[in-house]
Amino acid sequence: MKQQLESIQKKALEKLETIQELRELEDFRVAYLGKKGELTSILKGMGSLSPEERPVIGQLANEVRNALEAGIAAAKERLIKAAREEKIRQETLDVTMPGRARKLGKKHPITLVLDEIKEIFLGMGYEIAEGPEVELDYFNFEALNMPRNHPARDTQDTFYITEDVLLRTHTSPVQARYMKDHKPPIRIICPGRVYRSDAVDATHSPIFHQVEGLVVDKGVTMGDLVGTLQVFAKGVFGENTRIRLRPHHFNFTEPSAEVDVSCWGCGGTGCRICKGEGWIEILGAGMVHPNVLRAGGIDPDVYSGFAFGLGIDRIAMGKFGIDDMRLLFENDIRFLRQF
């Protein structure tokens, strides 16, 4: 019987090695360890053994059973692993195939630039003010120190509705409106659409977008204007951007400046984008003219302030390298989806 057991173990363990499928393994288990299995039936014959033999053979039988069970467990693990590997091999994908398209919509480039500018100024404690596009001549011109028949009005080709009503030529009237309703300290930006009688071409549009800024408080200096514009320029055009102020004239600021940023194309060494200048003009700014403060009910002997205005469309064109202004209003999907 001992020999029998030993031969069963040897045979069984050899067989185990050859098993390739789980189902086969189960059959194997039943064949040896099942109720009618080979080992079981041998053990059934234990009753005929002598009391001396019985514990010896019993122990041996248990050892054989344990060995088979361990072998089965190991084989099972081997087979599961192999099966999993086979599955993985079979379901391997060509991961270089394109992903399934998710069509997320895109914001317009002007909105993107506006959002960036808003974020910069919100961070510096500004609120966002708005005003009407069909505007009174008073707010667009007179309250900004440009009385009727002032020659400076010629520089802004104006669309008129009536003698007193027009399409605002800049976002500056929002300044005038805001000062009437709010007391200093004031920190606002006013984004919006503006209108000038320019024919449509690659670099002109009768409708474009500006952001106006206004700060009024006690002791506001031109240094504050310069510092603020620096933060703005670095925020929009990158940390290495420098700004340059040139004296200019606007009726509603004094002193007034035109502001250039170092060219985003070449960083200031001169290239095609800046026409070799190294600088690109992007905005007008200055200290709020005393007459404008007065028109807003603010005492220029107590308060001072600065204001600036910049064109968004051109900044968007510069930032994204758009070479034709008409693209901004044509809304070709292939254009819009690029941003």
Binding site: N149, V165, L245, R337
Partner: protein
């Protein structure tokens, strides 16, 4: 303002290179738009005199010349038809590089030629600059020049700097004014000219003419001189060339002198033929009704009483400050002239020049408001030049009618205030130095300053601060960031945040943001089938539009959206999904300004686009904005939309009633055709204010379910016209609290159900937050639902 560099140098030593000068001027406020170097590329071209000329032995058209070029005698072969011995001509020497190429020794039909005689074109010049150049052939000097002189010097080819002059600085519309700015900028003295007039004619000017100003508010000052023995002829080259370089056409010596003085000193001048002035009288008055004047440009001008004219005893002889009259024009026969140097009200000149449609060099200066103290100096300079050029004899004295009101011309130099405004620490001495250079008279004891008469733009401390800042250099101001001020919280308003939610949701739903023009054509209303009396046709009208297509402010954005869709469709783009958030403008009776309403418009066609896709996007938006009380109702009345595939969005008011906030649906097939959109085009438009009013920022947490859900389905057959929304409402009502959710999952019409009927299938989810539901409870609810549907809609369980 175009300023020839050498003319500027008459008044200031420009001791730096042109690049540095241009930069310095730009940074001190006189922005340079460009520099034209007229002599660029012209080298080794000199004046030559043809001494001898003989025929070429081998060519009829060629001539062999001996030309004196100062240093030597050259043999030059020329084909020019217009030259003869004795002529002074430009000669490009061997080695000269012209825009057309390099000059070399050449052999023309066997004869050597050592240079080339040049035409105007070969010197890269135009007829504006050399009006006496022949149509064909070599340029011939009409004035004596020494052979060997560099042609750039002989023709005064200068560097011309184009300055942008802002409207507050009419004093800089002159060479002298720009020289003054240059002097302060470069820190060198201004060379003030000494004007000397000999006044050699007999008598006094006041014996010849009297001047009367009827409207001193329109003409504060009128000064005049008389010149006799006038000899009209061409002005000398140097003057012609300076005028031409500055952009003015030379005419004759008298007119050129007046223009020269205007450019040099900024004071427009005019010369009248005095023999044409009736009654020896100049009257400055407004035009009489019906008066007509032919101006110097040959046009008959109808004058009206708003216009100021210069008249003699009988008739107008000029439109004041705008243009002279032909009736008193300088001609070759003119022997005696009156020189006018006057000051006019800027606004009056501006309105007159606008009305007449004339913008002259004079009017564009006058309209900005000129210095009334400049009239005498300009007259004297004119007189000096007339004497210098031998163009006439100047009569003694000036007739000066001066009614200039006294103006506040002193201002305190408040150093602290200026530094306070600029955020600088500029010492008083530096400020005084700058103001003195700008010709302010400064009293350092009282710190009072007298403002020069040519600086009417200086009114307040802020103006003074600008003067200091621009010579201190704006870029030397130290940047700061409102330090020490009260901190403020930057924030978007609720409305602005909701607008962000709208944009973000639209993008998340696959719509791309469009920007379209806010003005449009009144014809768009026809393209969208609006009836003639539709209120949307009432629009704000632009009085001076760019054209009919841009002539009204839009009252609806749908036509713009349809146009954008059509544009994409015409470019063979298969699918387009867009939105725009912008304004429309509605005129309001009795109100100056229209109502400006924010509107959200959606538009799409192509893959997966149908009504329910559009509605799903709208529902997503409503959810994102926290709007829960709304209904969609069939909309059959909107002429733009398909009457069977369109809904109105209704928002619930506090009192339980509903208000319409917008429309969504398929575009009416006729409108789609007219607007060239695809047949299945979908659009929606909403009033943003209504959406925002109904929105809420509040979100409340609902605990996640602890007990299991019981799912059930139900399918009923109802008449085709029964609305799903009504079925859903009935199901919810009948089911009670334990119904957690119900959704439509199928609608079937066809052979399995009777004609005119449809099968609608709903998925229901029952759940209690407190316990596990019993089957009996759910069965009872299902019974209630079925009964209710049977009762209300005649529904049959399928």
């Amino acid at each position: 303002m175009k300023a020839p560099l050498n003319w500027l140098k008459d008044f200031v030593d420009i001791n730096v290179g042109i690049r540095e000068y241009v930069h310095a001027m730009t940074m001190s406020g006189s922005k340079v738009e460009g520099v034209e170097d007229m002599g660029e590329g012209i080298d080794k071209v000199v004046v030559g005199r043809i001494l001898e000329m003989e025929a070429h032995p081998n060519a009829d058209r060629l001539k062999i010349c001996k030309v004196d070029v100062g240093s030597e005698m050259l043999q030059i072969v020329t084909g020019a038809p217009n030259v003869k011995a004795g002529d002074l001509i430009p000669v490009a020497l061997v080695g000269a590089k012209l825009p057309g190429g390099e000059i070399k020794v050449s052999k023309l039909r066997g004869v050597e030629s050592y240079g080339m005689m040049c035409s105007m074109e070969e010197l890269n010049l135009t007829r504006d600059y050399l009006p006496d150049a022949p149509e064909n052939g070599v340029y011939i000097f009409n004035e004596e020049v020494k052979p060997g002189t560099d042609v750039k010097e002989a023709l005064h080819l200068d560097k011309v700097i184009d300055f942008e002059i802002t409207s507050n600085r009419p004093d800089c519309l002159s060479i002298y004014g720009l020289a003054r700015e240059s002097a302060v900028t470069l820190g060198v003295p201004l060379k003030k000219p000494e004007i000397r007039v000999r006044e050699e004619a007999g008598g006094n000017a006041s014996d010849h003419v009297t001047i009367e100003i009827e409207n001193p508010e329109l003409c504060p000052r009128y000064s005049a001189r008389i010149v006799t023995d006038v000899k009209v002829g061409p002005s000398p080259y140097w003057m012609q060339h300076r005028l031409a370089a500055a952009g003015m056409r030379p005419i004759n010596n008298i007119v050129d002198i007046t223009n020269y003085v205007m450019l040099e000193l900024g004071q427009p001048m005019h010369a009248f033929d005095f023999s044409k002035i009736t009654g020896s009288k100049i009257i400055v008055r407004t035009a009489r009704e019906g008066e007509v004047l032919k101006t110097l440009d040959g046009q008959e001008r109808k004058l009206d009483p708003s216009m100021l004219v210069i008249a003699d005893a009988e008739r107008p002889v000029g439109v004041a400050g705008v243009m002279g009259g032909e009736n008193s024009e300088i001609t070759e026969d003119t022997r005696m002239i009156l020189l006018e140097s006057a000051n006019f009200n800027g606004t009056s000149i501006r309105l007159t020049s606008k009305k007449l449609g004339i913008r002259s060099e004079a009017s564009l200066r006058f309209e900005k408001g000129l210095d009334p103290e400049n009239t005498i100096k300009a007259l004297d300079r004119c007189a000096e030049l007339i004497e210098l050029l031998g163009a006439g004899r100047v009569v003694r004295g000036i007739v000066d009618c001066n009614k200039v009101p006294k103006r506040q011309d002193t201002i305190r130099l408040d150093v602290d205030r200026i530094n306070g405004l600029l955020g600088t620490d500029i010492p008083v001495e530096k400020m005084v130095e700058i103001f003195r250079a700008l010709e302010f008279e400064v009293d350092t004891n009282t710190m009072m300053m007298k403002i020069p008469s040519f600086r009417s733009d200086i009114e307040s401390a802020a103006d003074l601060a600008e003067e200091i800042a621009r010579f201190y250099d704006y870029n030397n101001i130290k940047p700061s960031l409102l330090s020490g001020k009260e901190a403020m919280r930057g924030k978007k308003s609720y409305k602005q945040r909701m607008e962000d939610v709208i944009r973000n949701t639209m993008c998340a739903c696959g719509l791309n943001e469009a920007y379209t023009f806010s003005f449009t054509s009144p014809r768009v209303f026809d393209s969208i089938n609006l009836p003639a009396d539709h209120p949307l046709r009432k629009a704000v009208v632009i009085s001076n539009p760019l054209g009919e297509d841009y002539s009204i402010m839009r009252t609806t954005m749908l036509p713009d959206m349809l146009r954008v869709l059509a544009t994409n469709y015409s470019r063979k783009i298969e699918t387009a999904r867009l939105f725009e958030l912008a304004f429309v403008y509605h005129p309001v009776e009795g109100q100056e300004l229209p109502e400006q309403k924010s509107v959200l418009t959606l538009g799409m066609y192509g893959e997966d686009c149908d009504f329910l896709e559009l509605k799903g996007i709208v529902e997503e938006l409503l959810a994102a904005m926290g709007i829960s009380d709304f209904e969609f109702r069939p909309e059959r009345e909107d002429p733009i939309f398909h009457p069977g595939r369109t809904a109105s969005l209704m928002l619930k008011n506090a009192d339980g009633t509903f208000r319409k906030a917008g429309v969504l649906g398929e575009i009416h097939p006729e409108v789609a055709e007219k607007t060239e959109c695809p047949e299945r085009t979908y659009a929606a438009t909403f009033e943003v204010a209504a959406l925002i009013e109904a929105s809420t920022p509040d979100r409340k947490f609902k605990p996640l379910p602890k007990y299991p859900a019981v799912p059930r389905d139900i399918a009923v057959v109802v008449k085709d016209e029964v609305y799903v929304a009504d079925l859903l409402r009935a199901i919810r009502k009948a089911a009670g609290d334990i119904l957690e959710d119900v959704s439509l999952f199928d609608v079937y019409k066809g052979s399995q159900v009777p004609a005119g009927m449809k099968s609608t299938a709903f998925a229901l989810t029952f759940r209690s937050p407190e316990r596990t539901l019993k089957d009996e409870e759910v069965n009872a609810a299902m019974d209630r639902i079925l009964k209710s549907l049977e009762h209300q809609f005649g529904a049959k369980l399928r």
